[in-house]
Structures are given as structure tokens and as C-alpha cells.
């Protein structure tokens, strides 16, 4: 499967937007992603290892809850991670 990162998260993936990982579940995929880019870990994950609430996860366009770590994935799946950011 593949991760699509956007915005500020790309700062922690050497500005790679599309990142392929091998994983059978969503939880494993996230672990693989932060293993590949260790600087991404504190930004993406909270101190319990779950994706922070401020990030929104989309599996093939559908929203996935951050605690759905056992959600099964296939090779063709794509996960988008977007970050809520408000200023002004």
C-alpha cells in the first residue's frame, strides 16, 4: 500500500509525497512509516502510539478512525493523511 502525505508532514518525509510500505493492517502501516522516517513519529503519533487527533486519515478516500489499527489493507490501498491547521 501507499501513503500520501501533504503539507507540513512532508517536511518530515524528506518531502516525499507518495511513500510505499508493506503492511497487512493500518497499525502496521503506520509503524512502518515512522520507522522509515523517525522524525515523523513525534509529529504524527501521540504518546500512546496512535495518530494524533489533529491528523485526519483517509483510506481510499474514506475516513478511518485513528484507533482502527487492525483494519486490513491490500497492496492497492492508499492512505492520505491531512493535518488540520488553523491560524488567524
Amino acid at each position: 500500500m501507499k501513503f500520501h502525505l501533504s503539507g507540513l508532514l512532508m517536511r518530515y518525509s524528506d518531502y516525499q509525497k507518495d511513500i510505499p510500505v508493506e503492511a497487512a493492517t493500518f497499525g502496521e502501516a503506520v509503524k512502518s512509516l515512522v520507522a522509515k522516517f523517525p522524525d515523523l513519529r513525534p509529529v504524527l503519533l501521540d504518546n500512546q502510539g496512535l495518530v494524533r487527533e489533529v491528523h485526519r486519515i483517509f483510506l481510499n478516500g474514506d475516513v478511518v478512525r485513528r484507533d482502527e489499527v487492525d483494519r486490513k489493507l491490500t497492496d492497492a490501498d492508499a492512505i492520505d493523511i491531512m493535518t488540520a491547521l488553523a491560524g488567524g
Binding site: 501533504s6 517536511r11 487527533e53 474514506d62 491531512m82 491547521l85 491560524g87 488567524g88
Partner: protein, 395 residues
């Protein structure tokens, strides 16, 4: 007083009328005088004035009843702010009131009982005012690039850093601060301006000049544990807070837009050319029509988002429509001011007269940190693409 115009959304007329009845005299007799002078000098409101605003229930209007506030809902507060913005010619005042309310919201949501007694309850009486220091010297609005740091020291927390612009800082007793810990996690603290090693200095802003803007510098500020409002994920705390704040920021602007239209009409009616008032000119009527349309559409947008908030349909962290609505209204307000300038002629350059240029400056200041609006639009665009990809397959 003039009757508040437009019968759109008359179901909220009672709130509008009640707000005028409760706060109208205070706003027009106590706040409005001195607006021009405050703008020129860059001076802010006195504590006595803010206390009076609290005594009549304006400051605590929407603060939770559980801590002594008025308990109004988001919708009621938004509508009340619209009328307050109509009556109050000093946008800095509504800014200070709205920001103070938002900081109170955050304290009530995340504060421990000690903080509620120490800060939240006195705030409802106007005995304490609060500001929030989010924008960072290095990170700006990017929470993952903040350089303001916190470290634990026994049972205390020590803060170091600079928050370069804090609305209401010169008035505030308490300032909420976002700081990054050693795990790159964002925590939230309540500092007191009298805490040792806290330095608050005034700024000279180009707009909202009575808003009490200041710079906050912390050098080894040592806080007891109970002053920590959020131990982790301060980013989510901020996003929820900043989204809601957008609406309280623009709600008074709607009322201000109508007051600008009315004053523009009055001035044009009183100005004659060849014995006829300018309001008879078609180009003037066109501009006024455009201005009024901007106001009505903006008002409908505000009420739409207020109703969504009331019905619990706005996702606290993710709802893009609060940001889009705020941006839309601000852009409409800026164009409305430009239209007023277009038809009013030389008098808009006389700052102590029409004051339209001050309103324009104040509305322009609402575009600060608009880069995150661009980000929100990118997100909306990507979600639109995802949605279309899914629905196309279903056909």
C-alpha cells in the same frame, strides 16, 4: 437609536433586541467615545471599563453558567456579537471581549478545579482578563515549528520563549501559552503576568490599535503543576479553539458592515450635486446595492455556520466551513469598505470623520495567518477529488 435593519432571520430578532437593550447604552455612551483617540495613540481600554462591561454581563454573556457565566449558546453569542458590532464603533473592543471569552472556554474545557477557581470564576466577574499566546517567534502559526519550550523541573514546569504578538496582552492578567516539550509535543499553560521572569511589552499594531497587543517573553518562567491545562496534544486543543474563535472574530463584523452602509447612505443623502442628493445617481445606487448584498450574504453565511455549531454539526478540529465562512465574510467586509471609499470621496481621508479607513484596516488585520486558509482550501480540494473518485465508480 436606529432600528437594526434587515428582516432576514427574524427568529433571532429577540436576541438582537435584548442585546441592544442590555448593552446599547454602555457601548454608545462609554466605549464609543474615545475610539478615534485610542486609535491614534494606540492605547487600550481601562480596567474600569472592562469591569463595567463585566458588571452588565457583556463579558460573561457566553461563559458557562457552572462558573458564574451567562451560559449563552454559540448561536446566541454569535447573534449578540453581531448587534454589539453594530452598536460599537471600536472593533478593538469586540476583539478583546471575544478573545477573552475564547480563552475562558479553553480554561473551562481543560482546566483543573484549582484553575477554575483561580481564573475562570473571577473572569466571569471581570476581575481577571485572559489572552492567549499561540503564534510563535519561530513557528508563526505552524505548531510543529514552535521554539517556545517547556521542561519539567520536579513538580514545576519551566517555560522559555517568545510569543511575538498576543492580542489583549496589555490588559490580561492570565495568558495561555503553547510550548513544545522534549518529545515535540505541545503543552498548554496558564501564566500570570506577575509571575517572575514574565515580560509583557506593548506593540504598535497597524490595526485594532486599542486591542492591547503585546509581546510576551518568558525566560525561565517557573509554574506549579496545576497551571498546566493540556499535558499533551496541544495542537488539537489549539485547532478546536482557533476554529471557534474565527466565528466570534467575524460576527461583530457583520453588524459593523451594516453600520458602515447606513452611515454611507446618510452621507450620500446629505451631499448634493446640482441640487440633487448623490443617492439619486445610478452608479451610487449600484455601489450601495453591492454593499448591501455583501452584508446580507455575509449575514446568511454567519447564521448558517452558527446554526451548524448549535446543532453540533461542526467537527471541532476538522470543520473547514468555519474557516471558509470567516474568510468569506472578511473578504466581503473589505470589499464593502472599499466600496464605501469609492463613493464617499474625500471625507474618507478625514480619520476623525467617517473612519472607514480604520474599519478597512481592522478588517484587513483579520487576514493575518491566512496561509492556513490556503491549507484548508487545499484540503477541501483534495477531499473533493477523493469524493468524485468514489462517486464516479458508483454510477
Amino acid at each position: 437609536m436606529r432600528k437594526y435593519g434587515s428582516n432576514v432571520y427574524s427568529k433571532y430578532q429577540k436576541i438582537l433586541d435584548d442585546t441592544r437593550s442590555r448593552f446599547g447604552e454602555f457601548l454608545t455612551e462609554k466605549v464609543n467615545p474615545g475610539t478615534y483617540e485610542r486609535d491614534v495613540a494606540g492605547s487600550t481600554f481601562t480596567r474600569e471599563l472592562m469591569k463595567e462591561a463585566a458588571d452588565i454581563g457583556l463579558v460573561s454573556y457566553a461563559m458557562p453558567a457552572a462558573v458564574g457565566g451567562g451560559g449563552a449558546s454559540w448561536l446566541e453569542w454569535g447573534v449578540a456579537l453581531e448587534m454589539i458590532g453594530y452598536l460599537c464603533v471600536d472593533s478593538s473592543f469586540t476583539l478583546v471581549v471575544a478573545q477573552n471569552h475564547m480563552a475562558h472556554q479553553l480554561i473551562c474545557r481543560h482546566g483543573n478545579p484549582e484553575i477554575l477557581d483561580e481564573i475562570a470564576r473571577p473572569m466571569t466577574k471581570g476581575d481577571r482578563l485572559c489572552a492567549f499566546a499561540y503564534t510563535d517567534a519561530d513557528g508563526g502559526s505552524d505548531p510543529f515549528a514552535f521554539s517556545t519550550k517547556v521542561r519539567k523541573d520536579g513538580n514545576h514546569y519551566v517555560l522559555d520563549g517568545l510569543k511575538p504578538i498576543v492580542a489583549g496582552a496589555m490588559l490580561a492578567d492570565t495568558i495561555l501559552v503553547w510550548a513544545t516539550d522534549e518529545n515535540h509535543d505541545l503543552q498548554v499553560f496558564a501564566i500570570d503576568r506577575n509571575d517572575p521572569n514574565v515580560d509583557v511589552s506593548p506593540l504598535d499594531p497597524g490595526a485594532m490599535r486599542a486591542g492591547g497587543f503585546g509581546r510576551l517573553f518568558m525566560s525561565g518562567v517557573r509554574l506549579p503543576a496545576h497551571r498546566r491545562l493540556a499535558a499533551s496534544d496541544g495542537v488539537s486543543v489549539a485547532q478546536e479553539f482557533l476554529h471557534e474563535r474565527k466565528i466570534t472574530l467575524v460576527a461583530p463584523g457583520i453588524g459593523r458592515m451594516l453600520d458602515i452602509i447606513e452611515n454611507t447612505c446618510d452621507a450620500l443623502e446629505e451631499t448634493t450635486r446640482f441640487g440633487r442628493p448623490l443617492t439619486e445617481l445610478k452608479n451610487v445606487q449600484s455601489v450601495l446595492g453591492r454593499m448591501y448584498s455583501s452584508y446580507v450574504i455575509s449575514r446568511m453565511s454567519l447564521y448558517g455556520i452558527l446554526e451548524r455549531m448549535e446543532e453540533g454539526l461542526c467537527e471541532p478540529l476538522w470543520d473547514p466551513w468555519m474557516a471558509v465562512t470567516k474568510n468569506f465574510i472578511v473578504q466581503q467586509a473589505i470589499e464593502l469598505c472599499q466600496d464605501a471609499i469609492r463613493v464617499l470621496g474625500f471625507r474618507v481621508f478625514l480619520r476623525d470623520e467617517m473612519q472607514v479607513e480604520r474599519y478597512l484596516r481592522d478588517f484587513l488585520s483579520c487576514l493575518i495567518s491566512i496561509g492556513t486558509m490556503d491549507k484548508a482550501l487545499v484540503d477541501i480540494g483534495e477531499r473533493t477529488i477523493h469524493h468524485r473518485q468514489r462517486t464516479k465508480k458508483l454510477r
